[in-house]
Amino acid sequence: MAGLPLLPELVRQLFSRPATNAFPSRHLPPSITGFLAKVARGEATIHPPIPTPPKFRGKIVYDREACIGCSLCLRVCPAHAIEFIPETKRVRIYVTQCIFCSQCNDVCPKNALHMSHEFLLATEDRYAESQIVE
């Protein structure tokens, strides 16, 4: 239509499937946090399933056995998210502080650090169990 070039597209869209998703579930749950807790326990699934790209950098995982306590990762962490515990000679990672750069993964001589594909990490407590990796 002259002057309103978007109109035909709008009419087309009226009769086609919406581009947005009903996320994180098909119907609004009574409590979103409750629902996500359920997802974490494996009692519910996220809708629609969100594929993560091959090189995705999600929540960090730490192989305590492999670590030798060289503390190289501390030197490259931009966010100061890694703490060295002298008593155990191991590290502790604060996920709330981590900026998911994966630089510690690159530097670790023992390959003790990896990025998982887990991305629904928000909580209200900085020091919740899920937010500290050690």
Partner: protein, 411 residues
């Protein structure tokens, strides 16, 4: 003109900001109005200062490069790229060719997503939400590509001092080519939707004019300068990364649309054409992608020791989607740099708001403000202190103020 003085010479003032739906980021405007007409303009940036340079001075360059990813929420690569280039200059690091090409490809993908994002915001500021949804929907394709190449949607973490951290595989190459075909097919449609729409034409043509002279005097950069007819583009004038091998010309509003007039409409045209240009550049890069290493030094411990010894000054300049972005770094043989200065592109463009807004209507403020694609959190490097009174509120201040207010309300 100061806000106090403005009050005396105009009938009434309208404050816009620091937080207002017309602004996507905080900045404080004070408009002196006469009816619906804007007579005087004053603005105060510095509402979203985060002290990122301060953080940088306490970290080594390998750490900073990932901090720079977070300077802007849209340009994930320009800041890390210009910082890395400054440091590479100081430490005399030569970036492998393949890494330069990969940097260029991501740089241009970023331009595509940033310009589409802007197009959506502009439509929203005009009250045209359908076009906003459409623009942001097609933007997703470029976000998916970036996510696939770098791992994450916004904070890419791809640039390292001396190269890039991830290579482009053959499958990814095919994906990028598919994405480019998608955008190639879309270009004409986007041009029609934005440029042939009579309501957009009515609102944008002849409004928010920045003359070529003003643009030069105010040192504007990027699409804002080019829409006013200044033939400048860092990629053309001072080629970096792979741009020296490529054919890049600054894009000016073409004669078919009446040449550069420096209005909001021209800024739309320039950005749309630049999306097409970026597609071409990525195609060229993929076509002549050289083989080889992607990092100057894959062992980070060694890289760190080289950087620790480095001494000197360096300047990294890149053409961000909003214009030239510049990082200045001074190293003095220590872990952390001696000095680090970030000049985001919007810093050069903000002053052009004043000639653009004067004499326009209140209704045009959102679109004109948005037309330079301001990125304020990237720009803010200082917070203002006046008469010994600090305008910076710390977390403690805010907590105290909220407690006091609650007490007042309970009485």
């Amino acid at each position: 003109m100061s806000a106090e003085k403005a009050k005396k010479t105009v009938p009434y003032t309208v404050p816009i900001g620091p937080v207002h739906p017309a602004l996507k980021e905080p900045v404080m405007f004070t408009f002196g109005m006469e009816g619906e007409i804007v007579r005087t303009v004053d603005f105060a940036p510095g509402q979203t200062h985060r002290g990122i340079e301060w953080m940088g001075m306490r970290r080594n360059p390998v750490q900073i490069v990932h901090l720079t990813d977070r300077i802007c929420g849209i340009c994930g690569i320009v800041h890390s790229l210009s910082f890395a280039r400054a440091v590479e200059q100081i430490a005399e690091i030569e970036v492998p060719e393949r890494a330069d090409y990969i940097r260029t490809i991501l740089h241009e993908l970023e331009r595509i997503q940033s310009h589409l994002l802007w197009a959506g915001v502009a439509a929203h500021e005009l009250g045209f939400d359908s076009l906003f949804y459409l623009a942001w929907r097609v933007r997703e394709q470029s976000m998916d590509l970036i996510e696939n190449l770098t791992g994450n949607r916004v904070n890419y973490g791809i640039v390292q001092i001396g190269g890039v951290r991830r290579d482009i595989s053959d499958e990814q190459r095919a994906l990028v080519e598919k994405g480019l075909d998608y955008y190639q097919g879309l270009l004409d449609q986007m041009a029609t939707l934005f440029l042939k729409d009579s309501t957009i034409l009515m609102r944008c043509r002849g409004h928010g004019i920045l003359s070529g002279d003003d643009a030069r005097l105010l040192c504007t950069v990027g699409p804002t300068a080019r829409a006013s007819g200044l033939n400048m583009d860092v990629r053309q004038d001072y080629p970096y990364c792979a741009y020296g091998d490529l054919d890049v010309k600054a894009i000016l509003p073409p004669p078919e649309t009446g040449g550069p007039q420096g209005d909001v409409y021209d800024r739309i045209i320039v950005r749309l054409l630049e999306v097409g240009q970026s597609i071409g550049i990525i195609r060229q890069c993929l076509g002549q992608l050289p083989a080889g290493e992607i990092l100057w030094e894959p062992k980070m411990a060694k890289l760190l020791s080289v950087l620790k010894k480095a001494e000197g000054e360096g300047i990294g300049r890149v053409e961000a989607p909003r214009g030239e972005c510049m990082h200045y770094v001074k190293m003095a043989g220590k872990e952390a740099p001696d000095s680090w200065k970030v000049k985001a592109s919007s810093y050069s463009n903000l002053m052009s708001w004043i000639p653009m807004l004067q004499g326009e209507q209140l209704a045009d403020i959102p679109i004109i403000v948005a037309s330079i694609d301001p990125c304020l959190s990237c720009t803010d490097r200082v917070a203002v202190t006046r008469n010994g009174q600090s305008d910076i509120l710390t977390k403690e201040d805010l907590t105290r103020l909220s407690r006091e207010k609650t007490r007042r309300m309970m009485q």
